[in-house]
């Protein structure tokens, strides 16, 4: 079993809860951000010493939810202080960006890190489309075309042009090209049936977050496997990545109290504006293509929000507890889903960094030895 230490880099210390989108930046404090970036990068680097296999981060816009408008900058900061850990960008929001720029920056990270890049090619969550003024209706067609173009840019031996629906380039020949051949491993989000199908088709590792029921997650994995087989390959356990909030403390009570408190900030401050914007996108566009897909996603989010922390732990939506409890929870989820990677978000909301670090050490000393060989 492999483990990824994932960080959203939330902006903490905001007192004002607002449902506005975008979140007004009058409460943003650059001096505080300076401290946060340094602490967060240190924590990410520390993940290597705590036995994690990957270190991951991602792209978000216009809110305190995450301070990485371009996570590749953070990837660059992680490359040299680390030696072996994989640098997982999970990832760039492909439909919103210039695909050639994504191909170039990822190739830089791959060369700089000596071939340690994991290339996440994400479609993004709905509200990001408002931030970059891209029609959510076009998210799928942009995603498909952009990924095909990125793969071409990485693998094509001759300069080439591209005449597409969303992207046109007359001459492409990126410098550098990636170190890993034929290209860095891909991760594509696969939290819906449609995206699971696409990840299989693209020979990518599937990334699932926001699990509301293990049965639904199993359904996505089944679709992913079928799609991969149809594309001529067989996914291994390590091609299935399951991501969740993770709090590990000395005791169950301590972990639950910490997560409960941190989730207040996460749900209230960090998710406030995003929830409003997401609702607009879901109601007014075909981001989820049809009513059935939209319904499934809304039900999933509603189920997660309605569940108590105890229900979330029991339902496999979060990992939370003493090291011994978390070992049991990991074994159970792995038994149900057959995944080979867990993606831990241990900085939940405004959970104090000391608690996060202690959790990482408990993971190294008392969790990992019991689950490494799963």
């Amino acid at each position: 079993m492999k483990f990824c230490f994932f960080h959203l880099m939330p902006f903490t210390g905001v007192k004002e809860v607002t449902p506005d989108w975008p979140t007004p930046n009058r409460v943003f404090d650059p001096a505080r951000a300076h401290e946060l970036y340094r602490d967060y990068v240190d924590t990410l680097v520390y993940a290597e010493r705590c036995g994690f296999d990957w270190v991951g981060c991602n792209e978000h816009h216009f809110s305190p939810y995450g301070l990485m408008a371009n996570c590749n900058l953070i990837g660059g900061a992680l490359v040299y202080p680390t030696k072996t850990i994989r640098i997982a960008m999970m990832g760039n929001l492909v439909p919103l960006n210039n695909p050639i720029r994504v191909a170039e920056e990822y190739a830089m990270l791959d060369c700089m890190s000596g071939g340690r890049l994991v290339a996440g090619l994400m479609r993004g969550i709905p509200h990001e489309y408002i931030a970059y003024n891209i029609a959510p209706d076009a998210s799928w067609s942009r995603q498909r075309e952009a990924i095909a173009l990125i793969l071409k840019a990485w693998t094509e031996p001759e300069p080439f042009g591209w005449e597409g629906e969303h992207f046109q380039f007359r001459q492409v020949s990126i410098w550098p090209r990636p170190l890993q051949k034929p290209h860095p491993p891909l991760v594509i989000s696969a939290s819906s049936l449609e995206s699971a199908r696409f990840a299989g088709e693209m020979r990518a590792t599937m990334g699932m977050v926001l699990i509301s029921e293990l049965a639904l997650a199993r359904e996505c994995i089944q679709v992913y496997r079928e799609s991969a087989r149809a594309a001529g390959w067989e996914p291994r356990a390590e091609n299935i990545l399951i991501g969740m909030h993770t709090v590990i403390a000395e005791s169950d009570d301590e972990a639950r109290a910490a997560l409960r408190e941190a989730r207040r900030y996460f749900d209230g401050v960090l998710m406030g504006g995003m929830r409003s914007a997401g609702r607009l996108v879901l109601q007014k566009t075909r981001y989820y293509q049809d009513q059935a897909n939209r319904g499934r996603m809304q039900n999933r989010l509603a189920r997660r929000e309605a569940a108590t922390l105890e229900e979330q732990i029991a339902g496999g939506m979060v990992l939370c507890g003493s090291p011994e409890s978390v070992v049991r929870q990991i074994r159970r989820i792995h038994g149900e889903l057959g995944n080979g990677i867990f993606n831990f978000t241990m900085k939940v909301g405004d959970l104090p960094d000391a608690v996060v670090r202690r959790g990482m050490e408990l993971f190294r000393d008392r969790v990992l030895p019991h689950v490494r060989d799963l």
């Binding site: 080439f160 042009g161 005449e163 001459q171």
Partner: protein, 240 residues
């Protein structure tokens, strides 16, 4: 050789694929600004075959004769699939006839998979990523069969023309190579090889198009071809 001419403007010779002559919407669009000359290769589409011509190289000689006699100067030449191989031979053997060269998924450079060759139905399906865009009526079965038979007549049934591959380096015409990202008949690797052998060539992938780019993505094809023909190598620069 029967030649149909449509449109007005600078001359362009269009060399058809093995399915014969079809005035696709792309060609109609092209003929708004160009005088399009479309020869029917002998034996295709119900025309009489010419026993003295039995190779794609020989067809190129006939096209060259036509250009010199009827057009009288170098002109732009576009070839599609089978016609692409003929266009390459024309550029090799009669360089004085060719100004700009446009190759739409050109043939002659690789073998066509035997399973596809043996199954006309499967081959037809492999031509299109968007069969719903096929607006022209299928030709009568006997004409389609005759056209397929002409591949053997011209030594093109297997697809590959080793002599042509050997001489690609002598093509001097500024060339645009077009390949559909969903093409299952000609591989991207073959197009990369072609580009690497030509002195002055551009390779452009047309997204979401199979072998029949003209049918699958006529607007995208027109945009890039017209830009190339109008602006030559400056077509790489975006204009406002």
């Amino acid at each position: 050789m029967k030649v149909e001419v449509r449109g007005s403007g600078r001359p362009l010779v269009y060399l058809h694929p093995a399915s014969g002559v079809r005035w696709t919407s792309f060609l109609e669009k092209l003929s708004e600004t160009r005088t399009v000359h479309m020869p029917t290769f002998p034996g295709f589409d119900g025309t009489a075959s010419d026993e003295t011509v039995s190779t794609r190289r020989g067809l190129a000689q006939q096209v060259g004769d036509y250009v010199q006699k009827e057009i009288g100067a170098a002109c732009d030449v576009m070839g599609c699939s089978f016609g692409g191989a003929v266009a390459l031979w024309l550029a090799i053997e009669r360089p004085q006839c060719v100004d700009h060269l446009v190759l739409e998924c050109p043939g002659g450079l690789q073998s066509v998979a035997p399973a596809l060759r043996a199954n006309p139905h499967a081959f037809y399906k492999a031509l299109f990523a968007h069969p719903e865009k096929v607006v022209h009526a299928r030709k009568p079965d006997e004409i389609e069969a005759q056209n397929r038979g002409m591949l053997a007549h011209y030594g093109a049934e297997e697809g590959k023309d080793p002599d042509l591959i050997d001489r690609l380096g002598s093509v001097q015409a500024m060339t645009l190579i077009l390949h559909g990202t969903e093409d299952r008949i000609i591989s991207a690797g073959t197009m990369q090889l072609l580009k690497s052998r030509l002195a002055r060539a551009f390779l452009v992938y047309v997204w979401d198009a199979a072998h029949s780019i003209e049918v699958d993505q006529p607007e995208r094809l027109a945009a890039v071809v017209q830009s190339f023909l109008e602006r030559s190598d400056a077509f790489v620069v975006r204009y406002a």
